[in-house]
């Protein structure tokens, strides 16, 4: 699993990247009450806002940590947004994206991400 500085995570399985928000991000948001995930077929570019996550207090953009075509948004989050708090780096995934380049350039492994969090 790799992480972006915007607190998204990505896990590659061949040319499919599963993406979500980190536990740090989920904890910082507090109670998640609404999630908008992208529809299949949507093309996303690294750094674009591709999803929205809302706490009681505010809406936040989620930025794509990779470029590619969405093959599935996590529809389960529509009725159970609290999954993002309960299991942010597992069941609380946001989307599966088919990538042309499964590169981790610009992303951090967990040790590097933990070190990055320590600087915040």
């Amino acid at each position: 699993m790799h992480f972006s500085k915007d607190h998204e995570w990505v896990r590659f399985d061949g040319d499919v990247a599963t993406v979500g928000i980190s536990k740090h991000a989920a904890d910082a948001l507090g109670d998640v009450v609404f999630v908008e995930t992208p529809d299949a077929g949507k093309t996303v570019s690294k750094g674009d806002s591709f999803a929205v996550v809302e706490s009681v207090k505010a809406a936040s953009d989620v930025y794509a940590p990779v470029s590619g075509e969405v093959i599935e948004g996590n529809a389960a989050l529509a009725s159970a947004p609290e999954t993002v708090n309960a299991d942010p780096e597992g069941e609380g995934w946001f989307a599966k994206i088919k990538v042309s380049d499964a590169s981790t350039d610009g992303l951090m492994d967990r040790a590097a991400y933990d070190a990055f969090l320590a600087t915040l």
Binding site: G30, V33, V52, V56, K57, A59
Partner: protein, 371 residues
């Protein structure tokens, strides 16, 4: 604003020790949440929540002319207000706009005790200082903290400390010794629940806070839940749902206009306000139930069923009690009738909404049985 510029309340260390997440609000470093907004919201609706609202402004207006001078700027009848009562009112500018909303009462026999919003208090106090005439004097009570205890178990919790408190009714107030110190207390709040606001000397605040929290029915509650609670209760937040451009008629706060004062038309902005009462305002604050999609928050547009933008949301979000999204905003009166179907536009997507009555969640204030 940097953290260094934020002021602190006398309870800052207590919040930090309790693991609160702190944010800047109204110029103060305040707890937004302790264990989580939803849990704190529900605890307050079911038990009792304790809030630090020491960032709010407290003052006394004293002197023979106190009431008459105060009434120049508010539309409530404070001359007939009995000792031991308080009343919600609005500080009006010359155009009838709401500079602030406030609570003013007579807890003792020494003029008025007034509580105003944190973000407006410097301006309010400067305005009063400049405009009070005769022998009316403003005394800023910046040596006091303000706590609020709210929820269905608040009265039992407080009666264990002082049995007298069970007997005062909604919007009654008193000055008395509580926890061994000189307190102003009123049965009021900002959540729609029964409860009290308690003004204590700043140097006693932490002791009183901890004393109240010893009761297992009480938990500390942050400003996050305070906002979702007041939204459910349909209570406006100044600077968002009402501001210096909004009149009491537009703001759906006509209950704050005392009959006698309307007849005398002797308060700031009376011309505009009476004209709007007679002819109707150009816009009015409504409650909306948002039936699909994302929460509609401040700034989201409101459209009619033909897609014409007719107004905007001033606050909104999820209602933990109702399990759906609610909002307040302004529309022309012809769209304000209960049951009117409208659209709210969130991130470009229209979602179905319906005009509904406020409060969204029934208020549960304590009304004394009639003698």
């Amino acid at each position: 604003m940097t953290d260094e510029a934020l002021k602190t309340t006398p309870l800052n260390a207590a919040h930090r020790a309790a693991g609160a997440r702190m944010v800047g609000f109204g110029g103060y470093d305040m707890p937004v949440q302790y264990e989580g907004v939803l849990a704190e919201h529900r605890w307050t609706r079911e038990h009792a929540g304790l809030f630090d609202v020491s960032h709010m402004g407290q003052c006394k207006i004293t002197g023979e002319d106190a009431v008459a001078q105060f009434e120049r700027f508010v539309p409530g009848d404070y001359a007939i207000l009995k000792a031991g009562k308080q009343k919600y009112s609005l500080l009006l500018n010359a155009e009838g706009g709401i500079m602030d909303d406030l609570m003013a009462g007579k807890p003792d026999h020494d003029g008025l005790y007034v509580v105003v919003n944190a973000g407006n208090k410097d301006a309010d106090f400067a305005f009063l200082q400049d405009n009070l005439q005769g022998d009316a004097k403003l005394k800023i009570l910046d040596d006091r903290a303000l706590l609020a205890i709210q929820g269905p178990e608040a009265a039992e919790v407080m009666a264990a400390h002082e049995p007298l408190l069970a007997e005062i009714g909604f919007l009654e107030c008193a000055r008395l010794m509580l926890f061994g110190c000189d307190c102003f207390i009123s049965r009021s709040g900002y959540t729609g629940e029964d409860g009290y606001e308690i003004s204590v000397p700043a140097d006693q605040a932490e002791r009183v806070w901890n004393e109240i929290l010893k009761d297992a029915r009480v938990k500390p509650i942050g400003l996050g839940a305070r906002d979702s609670l007041r939204l459910e209760a349909g209570l406006p937040l100044h600077g968002h749902d009402i501001d210096a451009s909004t009149s009491p008629v537009e703001g759906a706060l006509t209950f704050a206009l005392s009959k006698s004062r309307k007849e005398r038309a002797d308060f700031n902005g009376a011309d505009r306000i009476l004209k709007e009462l007679a002819d109707g305002p150009s816009r009015v604050r409504i409650g909306l139930s948002v039936k699909e999609g994302a929460p509609a928050r401040e700034g989201a547009e409101i459209a009619d069923m033909n897609g014409n933008v007719i107004g905007a949301i001033t606050s909104g979000g999820p209602s933990p009690t109702l399990g759906r999204n609610i909002a307040m905003g302004y529309v022309p009166p012809k769209f304000a009738e209960l049951g009117t179907d409208l659209k709210v536009i969130v991130r470009g997507k229209p979602a179905a909404a319906e005009v509904v009555a406020t409060p969204f969640v029934a208020q549960r204030y304590y009304r004394k049985p009639k003698a």
